[in-house]
Amino acid sequence: MIHLTIDGIPVEVEKGTTILQAARQIGVEIPTLCYLEDVLPDGSCRLCVVEVTNNGRTKFDTACTLRCSEGDEVQTMSEKVVAYRKDTLDLLLSDHRVHCFSCEANGDCKLQDYCFEYGVTETSYPGEMKDMPIDDTNKFFTYDPSLCILCHRCVNTCKEIVGRGAIDTMDRGFQSVIGAHYKHKWNEGICESCGNCVQACPTGALTMKRRKKYRPYQIDKKILTTCPHCATGCQYYLLVKDGKIVDTEAVNGPSNKGLLCVKGRSGCFDFVQSPERIKYPLIKNKETGEFERATWDEALDLVASKFMEIKKQYGSDSLAGFACSRSPNEDIYMVQKMVRCCFGTNNTDNCARVCHSASVAGLAMTLGSGAMTNPIEDITKNADLIMLVGSNPEEAHPVVGMQIRQAVKRGCKLIVVDPRDIGLAKKADIHLKLKPGTNVAFANGIMNVILSEGLQDDKFIAERTEGFEELKEIVKDYIPEKVAEICHIDADDLRKAAIMYAKADRAPIIYCLGVTEHSTGTEGVMSMSNMAMMVGKLGREGCGVNPLRGQNNVQGACDMGAQPNVYPGYQKVTDPAVREKFEKAWGVKLDPNIGTHATDVFPKAITGEIKGLYIYGEDPVVTDPDTTHIIKALKSLDFFVLQELFMTETAQYADVILPGVSYAEKEGTFTNTERRVQRVRKAVTVPGEMRLDTDIIIDLMNRMGYPQPHLTSAQIMDEIASLTPSFAGISHERLDSEEVHGQGLQWPCTSKDHPGTPIMHVGKFSRGLGWFYPAKYVPSAELPDEEYPIILMTGRILYHYTTRAMTGKTPELMEIEGKSFIEMNIVDADKLGIKNGDKVRVSSRRGSIESTARVGTKTSPGESWMPFHFPDGNANWLTNAALDKYARIPEYKVCAIKIEKA
């Protein structure tokens, strides 16, 4: 340890600590402009200069770069230090355009604050000023060189923290300027518009364009909440002025570490205040087919009476109700309660059915719990190697992607297993560009190598697992050469990957929909846990099997029992003791049979087995496979009710639309991908007759004859906790408490004094022994043939979230990416005479759409990829509703198509 004094206060610090860090330890503030925590100091602004005396010698140096030495006597505010800082500020002002009155950063500018504090009113070095044009080509922010103090916080944020490196200093000396290229503008580089650089800027050089609409001191309140897009669970403030959300501000949350992506920062409130919101209940006039405005009483009476009529006539199982994975836990709980208590059936589900139901089912079968085993921070900070399978986090979970990029920068090895050259593949040590639909073969190949090299963890296998011998028999056949042929990869790369993974001490598997969205999705998931168990990489730091969940609260939707087979907390509906507990609590007889899965509800609607459907916040016409089939199913229903924010594609087919409210208008909780329950808080009230979603459900329950008292969101969570052992310790009060201090609680959290569970399966699996599932490779349901020779995969892009119902309301996002496209290989394109940018017709056995070709080598020959966000050419007209036998998840990732020049 090193001993020194700062302003006379004695401090003891570890070797290597800087003076700035030491001062912060004891609460002494030293001014900084360029300093960025956790990044090597830039030392460029010179404002943190301090006076250090040691061994009778005195020197001035920057506190951010100078490491503490034994016996240092540091003065942070001596007369000379103050004079030095004044001069530094004076020099900074000499080429800073001082127009604070009209500057967007006025009142929120560190340069202004320090000039005020040190009494610098104007520069005493007037001279040449930087005269360079403002770059406003980015859709969301502008860069003004005349306000830039070249502190490089933006450059270092982008490079070191976001891990993108889109910007740097161009030119030198007085001509220095921040940019993406010496000549091209900001929008022509690789900037992802996340805006983390803007939040890092200490002056007005980088400002969000929306800052023109408000002054920081006009903000009435800042509401801390959780992002409504992906399941990373980023924390931010919504800034409210005159009852309207005007901006966001990232918060250093447990999963986002102060970062946001472009959707979180800039696409999370336009939709809340969109004029396209449905403002009052609508009932479809049967004769005209038009929606007509109704009162809440009319609409609720109609819905309740219709559902009860169908129930009476056709029985409970002719009804179904889906909950919304974008809505809070409390809302979801009430939907499944309504379906179970009022409809009298287990026909409830959520959209996890079409994304990660395979994870929920697969991991529950092998490990006992279908969720991410380790926290995001753990698998990105503590890992020696990351095995990323079928996941493109840079686009689908951007803030997780940023943390993986940081990990790689730190030296963490990366194996990418993905059919496309995704961004992270370029940074990978090994990229296994496998053929879509061959995950099980790949995993069996990895395990074959592990066993033949003797790298398995025998102790772990013996003590903590079962079924190993059976699996061993199966993987024996999957020699690398055979797997290489099935997967179209290099056998030596497979060997190398297996050995690297097995030998790394801490190595998480992170996977996503590339594993689950197959007709063998559940087996794909179980293959992931097979690999991890074989090398004992479960139940400890920096390891595990980690599905990155899709929606903000899809984890919660599964946790809350919006599934046909389980009540909240994965308590089985078929277990008589569990059922009895819920019957007692809810005061009704409950259906003892497993209900119908969402993906089976649509075929059953066509056959007439399902007559009435209640959907809360889903848009299956856009998101579910084989659109023609979905539309036919919706049209076949006797009665279809939708609780929604917008007139979606699906809404067109509803009989009644009940307008609910968005995440920014209500209290509640979201559970992110790492099982972390975090608060959602009300920021605004949007004018209109929209009602709180839980109130809509509760009113309907009462009208359907179930006496459900009106409860607040917090009271609903208390009811959840009382019935769900893994949520027993969770309440709004506790989440808001000092004890939790904004970190949320990770389930299982079994009592009020339980701290939550960051890492699962420590010492023992939830299931008891981990089970090796003997999975054999089975090809995808629809393979390319002469007529439809190309494989189509589908997925998401950075700038939109699934149906685009929310992100599509932010015009700038639509300007960046607003149209359907298909990525195809140049070899196929050449054969078909298609060039990059050409209009193409894409057809499968189920439908045909037009799109625009993006020709390159991102996909392999014979393979193509499309996003499903865009109505002008939605991939789901083409996709195949072949279902997985366990999870009933559709095969979005493989169907056969043909592409022609349009």
């Binding site: 161009m170 030119d171 030198r172 993406a180 290229h181 010496y182 690789i190």
Partner: protein, 160 residues
């Protein structure tokens, strides 16, 4: 679009120095050595190949005066305007060159791509001031007249 030969040349140079970020500067020097400038598309290509971002590559290239994104003439004339050369009257030499070649501070290369005139801060040959360099050769104790003759000679050599 650059001709494919540029990328082949770049590949050779990259192979020589290795696909690593630390190779950036020597690769840029060699490319400029071949083409007398750094074609910007080629720098973008090099950056991607050796694993540095485009922004970083351009940041480095624009930091050093020596790298140029503009094609240079066959003869690159560097007139020293360091302190010693400046006081020994380097500016009249520069002005004579500008006048004779129709160049200026902003137009540095003749349209026939024969001559580029630049100033440098010191050639390290102050004893021979005012000094000038044409490509790799140093010309000592310059005067406007000598500069004039030199241009004629270089041109004549070209014609002959």
């Amino acid at each position: 679009m650059l001709d494919q030969s540029f990328y082949q040349k770049a590949d050779e140079i990259i192979a020589f120095y290795g696909k690593k970020p630390a190779s950036l500067i020597p690769i840029m020097q060699d490319i400029q050595g071949v083409y007398r400038y750094l074609p910007e598309e080629l720098l973008t290509y090099v950056a991607e190949q050796i694993g540095v971002t485009e922004a970083k590559a351009f940041s480095v290239a624009t930091f050093y005066e020596n790298f140029s994104f503009d094609a240079k003439g066959k003869y690159v004339i560097k007139v020293c305007d360091g302190t010693a050369c400046h006081v020994r009257k380097s500016i009249p030499v520069l002005e004579e060159l500008y006048k004779k070649l129709g160049l200026s501070k902003t137009k540095k290369t003749t349209d026939d791509m024969m001559f580029t005139v630049e100033t440098v801060s010191c050639l390290g040959a102050c004893g021979l001031a005012p000094t000038m360099m044409v490509n790799e050769e140093v010309y000592p104790r310059m005067t406007p007249e000598k500069a004039d003759e030199l241009i004629d000679k270089l041109r004549g050599g070209e014609q002959g």
